[in-house]
């Protein structure tokens, strides 16, 4: 754990001490080294399910894929931001990268924490750098509003969690994830207990986000700079899913009945947000809503609480993290050239950027879950679990799959196909950096196809 955490912390001196000329190169290389070091976690030697480094930090099959994803994403964020941060004064460039590194530090500690309370603190701590990224480096005035939404939705959800956690600490005497699952099942019956149950989950459901409390997400995604959108979609949403999986263990007897409305809301959300995607004109907003739709499936899988549900949820989280981050990068490359997020204004780009069209196609196919990409494995597992729970859910999940395919290809057709409009002139050619960025997104997706057990979670 420390061999990743300490280098991550050493990023800060790297950022502030390197000469401006080498700033981006060094930080990218450094973070990429961290990412490759983090791959060692995937080698699984422990029999006990946990691999410790000390009392507070440990990895298990559930957190490892998310940790590796977190580490993998930092170099990609740095690569993606290079173009639009580069013109700024060097001090600001340094502080921007610092924020990204800080976010990674918090995230590693959040996913690596063995104490739920530490996870909680880190969960909250990630809000600060993200908020600054959105409100300081966003492009439009609307970003302040987006920041407020982001902060207050998440805080309103997570403060009850703190109370609920303290209550749990009082009744079981521990908040350690290692022993919590072995503690006595709680005798829960009263309304207060139900409120406690809800308190334990609502923070994560808001973070996911569940349909109904998702309003912060499209705003935050649309207004954030590319790195912010990437990390939000790829990792921060996954904090919600991860937290839920950790908490579900203790909530057992009550969840059986209490989860119903949430499952139904999540499944209904897939349809609603998918339909919203079909009407989006704004590229980033479309991708953001598609995240909500996918996360609805994840929420359904987790709330069902079967091994396949958990596995499917974690697979889908990882796969969706990579795919949606790739889509945000692509949206940003289009935005940096046409200076508009409106899809209608930049059609037929395949003619101008043929290789980029390949990236668009691949990212969209990953988004619509083409077999045998891991996205499909995740969706299939969750759909199977839900089908096992109630066969009628196939109507919602199947319709969801249909709508997902429709809007993904709609996005592809709108941006890449069709006639090229006349006003598109003198677009900057694609940098190798951008192609590299896309390759680094897609390679993990393709490689995970060959050994999906790495992100099976507890089922492995």
């Amino acid at each position: 754990m420390l061999k990743v955490l300490i280098p991550t912390m050493m990023l800060f001196p790297t950022i502030w001490l390197t000469s401006p000329k080498w700033l981006w190169t060094t930080t990218t290389a450094h973070s990429l080294l961290i990412a490759s070091a983090s791959l060692t976690w995937l080698k699984w030697t422990s029999e006990a399910g946990w691999a410790f480094s000390n009392m507070y930090l440990a990895t298990d099959p559930l957190s490892t894929p998310l940790l590796v994803l977190t580490c993998w994403l930092l170099p990609l964020m740095i690569l993606a931001s290079q173009n639009h941060i580069n013109p700024e004064p060097v001090g600001r460039q340094r502080s921007y990268i610092t924020l990204l590194a800080l976010l990674q530090t918090f995230l590693i500690m959040a996913f690596g924490a063995t104490e739920i309370i530490m996870f909680y603190i880190m969960f909250e701590a990630t809000l600060i750098p993200t908020l600054i990224i959105i409100t300081r480096w966003g492009n439009q005035a609307e970003r302040l509003n987006a920041g407020t939404y982001f902060l207050f939705y998440t805080l309103a959800g997570s403060l009850p969690l703190l109370v609920a956690l303290l209550l749990l600490q009082q009744s079981t005497g521990t908040l350690s994830m290692l022993v919590l699952q072995y503690s006595q099942p709680l005798q829960l019956s009263s309304w207060g207990h139900m409120a406690w149950w809800a308190g334990c989950l609502v923070a994560f459901l808001v973070k996911m986000p569940l349909y109904g409390v998702h309003l912060w997400l499209p705003k935050a995604h649309v207004e954030a700079p590319v790195a912010g959108s990437m990390v939000l979609a790829a990792v921060l949403l996954k904090l919600g899913g991860y937290g839920m999986m950790r908490m579900m263990v203790t909530l057992d007897p009550l969840s059986k009945e209490l989860a119903y409305p949430f499952i139904i809301l999540a499944l209904w959300g897939i349809i609603m947000t998918g339909s919203i995607c079909l009407r989006q004109t704004d590229l980033k907003s479309l991708i953001a809503y598609s995240s909500v739709s996918h996360m609805g499936l994840v929420a359904g899988g987790v709330l069902i609480q079967t091994p396949w549900g958990f596995s499917g949820a974690i697979i889908l989280m990882i796969a969706h993290g990579l795919a949606s981050s790739a889509l945000f990068c692509l949206a940003n490359t289009a935005y940096e050239r046409t200076h508009s997020r409106t899809m209608m204004l930049a059609r037929g780009l395949q003619m101008i950027f043929p290789l980029t069209a390949v990236w668009w196609l691949a990212a969209n196919l990953a988004n619509l879950a083409l077999p045998p990409l891991p996205n499909l494995m995740g969706e299939l597992m969750i759909i199977t679990t839900l089908f096992n729970w109630s066969p009628w859910t196939i109507l919602l999940t199947g319709l969801g799959a249909l709508i997902t395919a429709s809007y993904s290809l709609y996005m592809f057709l709108m941006s890449q196909r069709g006639p090229t409009p006349n006003h598109i002139m003198g677009l900057q050619p694609f940098h190798t950096r951008e192609h590299l960025l896309m390759t680094l997104h897609l390679i993990p997706i393709i490689l995970l196809m060959t050994k999906p057990e790495l992100m099976w979670g507890w089922c492995y």
Binding site: Y149, I276, C277, L361, I394, G398, S406, W456
Partner: protein, 607 residues
Amino acid sequence: MTLTMHSSLLLMLFILVYPLSTTLSPSQQNSNMAKMTKVAVSSAFFVSLLPLMVFLNMKTEGIITNWQWMNTQTFDINVSFKFDHYSLIFVPIALYVTWSILEFALWYMHSDPNIDRFFKYLLTFLVAMIILVTANNMFQLFIGWEGVGIMSFMLIGWWYGRTDANTAALQAVIYNRVGDIGLIMTMAWLATNLNSWEIQQIFALSKNFNMTVPLMGLTLAATGKSAQFGLHPWLPSAMEGPTPVSALLHSSTMVVAGIFLLIRLHPLMENNKLALTACLCLGALTSLFTAACALTQNDIKKIVAFSTSSQLGLMMVTIGLNQPQLAFLHICTHAFFKAMLFLCSGSIIHSLNNEQDIRKMGGLFNMMPTTSTCFTIGSLALTGTPFLAGFFSKDAIIEALNTSYLNAWALTLTLIATSFTAVYSFRLVYFVLMGAPRFPPLTPINENNPLVINSIKRLAWGSIIAGLIITQNFLTTKTPVMTMPTTLKMAALAVTITGLLVATEMANVASKQVKITPMTSTHHFSNMLGFFPTTTHRLLPKLNLTLGQSAATQLDKTWLETIGPKGLALTQTTMSKTTNDITRGMIKTYLTIFILTLILATAPALL
């Protein structure tokens, strides 16, 4: 022998994948991908003949499981190929047909700057289909299934500057996705109840289960992929793609995948009356409806497309008759003449300067003798003329149908559809090949290119003898009924000939206006595809898009915002305004309130 068979099959797969791997080579500018693809497919065909011979000689079938792909507690997914009589016979046929199509495409697409990419797509399409056919595992089958789906999206939308091509491509994917829901449901059902996706395990385990739910899923899947009634409109729209794509799509890949799925999983179905009846009625309806649509189309490719749809309906009927092997036979023979019909149409379209309207053709048998001959052979084979390829499968199907005691309504519909086959085939030949030319005089008619002649000729040989060869070597396991009254025996021929006679008479009548005001409503029904796309393509998307719009503006932007952040902010600001109003430095009021409070507080104590 088994070793020879399996290693040559794997060799065939590697040969096919090799041209795709050259994508990674850095020297793309001077690549010769298109020609290489053709050579790869033809050599793969010859390689695949070896296992076929082994199979024909020794009846060797096999399953090879190479690699445990993934494992979830007790659930294994393996990479596993099934080389049974279906895949061993189908793969060489698919390769043979694709070989000709690719050769033709070398000529048809020669001026396209992206011809290499086009061939790459075609090859991927074929590989996906081979994966589907050889899969011994639902997951692997699903890879091929979605692979052909997405490749058809890419190929139908090949001319992506055109809106029509894009919408047609999207339509294909969306209709197929509806079918996919069925397949996903079946897979979910199998995983939860049988805990296996391996096909032979499914067969073994399913004996004690009521299979209606998964079978309905499979039927839905086949409906989407094989364009059965209800999910058929994408098939004629798919004619927006280049002609070689249509040829490949309609002959040996994609559309037969749905039927093939049902054939492959037929052992699940054979005892389930409900599923069989559903297939029977669905197939009969499709067959008749699409044949009726074909009657009045004017686009040469659309007519051929609808004839495919009608034949797919016939295959579905055969599945409903509990005769999967006859359906498979029809897939095989159909591949030859349908691919050839498309290639001939392509040759004609190209020669007439991209003219597709049969009213602007005519008299081509003088100018394009080879194409015309082959076109006629294809049409004859399609109608089931004795001893051409179509006869062996079609006649067997109609006989099986006549001697069965199933739903007479479905059987009648199928017979009517069979007679319609003769009608639209005759109409095609009559308008395209016969009579006087109706096209502009300066058209670049030239079929004298070995790429055209050879590819079409090869398929013509196939259309003539393939039926005989296959039926000689591949016996159906169900013994067909051999004795029947002459009327039943001749029924297929009789309805076809009746159709032909009626069609010639109609052609005669059509040239003179008998009625001053013709009754056009039936014509409109057929010409507008039964008003099916006009209604459903408007209603359903409108419903969904309106839902999306109101979900976005009314629910998200209005209700959720008002109840959530905005409403909360409103209550808070009202409260703070009220309290704020008091604190305005009015010292007299404050002192008065203070004194009043003081009096109230101290009064009880004083009293």
